[in-house]
């Protein structure tokens, strides 16, 4: 086994810095000039339809089952302290503050993020992005930016759907199966969930996750090597990187929001 030579270290640092710079520049181009794509809203609308509609089924079904499980596990714990009526509050807070944004973002990375990466990567491999450049159309503006903004808009909506369906799941298990009082279930929830502190936190989280997941997916597609192998690797990297980023950011955001 040979030790790393100083030149190798230098090369590794330089190429990581170059990658970082490339990513940062792309991010700024998406945020700044890319925001102009919001004015051609038809492009963004089509992508919202694509990203949102096709993720809806998996988000809703997952939300329902997560709600079921929350109902069961929550009831099991709360009942020990004789406070089974607080189940509605527990289910709603868990979903709105935490599980809704996080699980929806993870599912979004797997469902929509991968398809974004593969789509962009294959467009690159088919020289479609080069062709667009040669037609004097900037692919970052025309292809990447609408997808980015669509992802940012879609993510909070999907997280909201996830939470709403999850609450219904908790209701089905808690009230209909386990016999928690209906009035207590909804009443505790209504009294205990604050629009700004709790729902607001969730919305901020899902916005941040939407930016993160969509940007990672687009960056991986845009920088993929234009070969079948390169696109498949980029797709894998999207899921891994986006999932880790979501979980890491979730901890940071939660810590920050508790301290406010």
């Amino acid at each position: 086994m040979s030790w790393w030579k100083p030149a190798d270290v230098g090369f590794a640092v330089r190429s990581s810095l170059a990658d970082l710079g490339l990513g940062a520049r792309l991010f700024l181009r998406l945020l700044g000039p890319g925001a102009r794509s919001l004015r051609r809203f038809a492009l963004v609308r089509d992508q919202i339809h694509f990203l949102g509609n096709y993720s809806l089924a998996i988000i809703a079904v997952s939300g329902l089952f997560v709600g079921f499980v929350l109902g069961l596990q929550g009831y099991y714990t709360l009942q020990r302290y004789g406070s089974g009526e607080a189940l509605g509050l527990l289910v709603a807070l868990s979903l709105v503050r935490e599980l809704g944004p996080v699980v929806a973002a993870l599912l979004f990375a797997g469902r929509a993020g991968t398809s974004l990466t593969a789509e962009i990567g294959l467009m690159k491999a088919g020289e479609q992005l080069s062709a667009m450049e040669m037609m004097a159309v900037d692919p970052v503006q025309r292809i990447l930016a609408p997808r980015f903004w669509a992802g940012v808009i879609t993510m909070p909506l999907l997280a909201a759907v996830f939470s709403a369906v999850g609450v219904i799941g908790g209701y089905v298990v808690g009230v209909l199966l386990l016999g928690v009082d209906t009035g207590a279930f909804w009443g505790q929830m209504q009294g205990g969930v604050d629009v700004w502190r709790d729902v607001g936190n969730g919305v901020i989280k899902s916005l941040v996750f939407g930016i993160t997941v969509t940007f990672i997916a687009l960056l991986q597609g845009y920088t993929a090597r234009p070969t079948p192998e390169g696109v498949s690797r980029a797709t894998t990297r999207t899921v891994v990187t986006a999932s880790l980023a979501v979980l890491g950011l979730d901890f940071l955001l939660t810590a920050m929001m508790f301290s406010i």
Binding site: G126, S130, E133, M134, A136, V137
Partner: protein, 287 residues
Amino acid sequence: MPSRRPGFLISFPNASLASTDVVEFRNVSFGYGERAVLDGVSFAVPKGKVTALMGASGGGKTTTLRLIGGQARAQHGQVLFAGQDIAGLDMPALYAARRRMGMLFQFGALFTDMSVFDNVAFPLREHTPLPEALVRDIVLMKLDAVGLRGARDLMPSEVSGGMARRVALARAIALDPELVMYDEPFSGLDPISLGTAARLIRRLNDTLGLTSIVVSHDLEETLRIAVHVVILANGAVAAQGAPDEVRHSTDPLVHQFVNALAEGPVRFHYPALSVEQDFGNADGGRA
């Protein structure tokens, strides 16, 4: 009598273009990493004619087109398009220059999520404020010029390779460019499609008043439609001139190329150790 109106012309041929050469390479060198692809290449593309850029695979032909389009920058020398140095342009100026070029990629590079019609309409919708009715008429005219007016509703996955390239050609000429670049327009086509494509390139060039650069290694078809031929070999210009001059050139490189000889100045073998070093001792015995 009312004066004649220009009809559907969107961009007029640039009257300020004083030079008769649309593209000029001045001592251009370019390489990927250590490997030099072009080394001191100089040639000119005369206005209004079909110029063929020929040479063996890997000889820097596609790179030449990328340099003209500003997708790569020359490391030495100048690439002039309409008198401007492409490498010296900033992004808006480069995009303005690209609007005056059309490029046909090797396999068409059609947008796979759009129909044939939308592919051809794409540059018009992106760059002009034309109403949709007018876009429709222009698109159908361009598709008609390549014989595919009836294929407007097909998706790129539903057309053959030859048709895809013709659609890409219609897209490349949608904005009436001054220069159209063809990257290997004949590779992988059957003889009928090949002949059709070649005649189409020449016909469009002459009727629309374009300047065309055809990158190809298909000798017969290319020499038939070209007016000016540039042969690149080993990173340099081996010959340039009219097709007949090139065909009868005595230069060994050009002779090898136009007669399709395996051995000659263009090496058959990729650079390697000597045969003796690889297979045995230099003095003939086994190691």
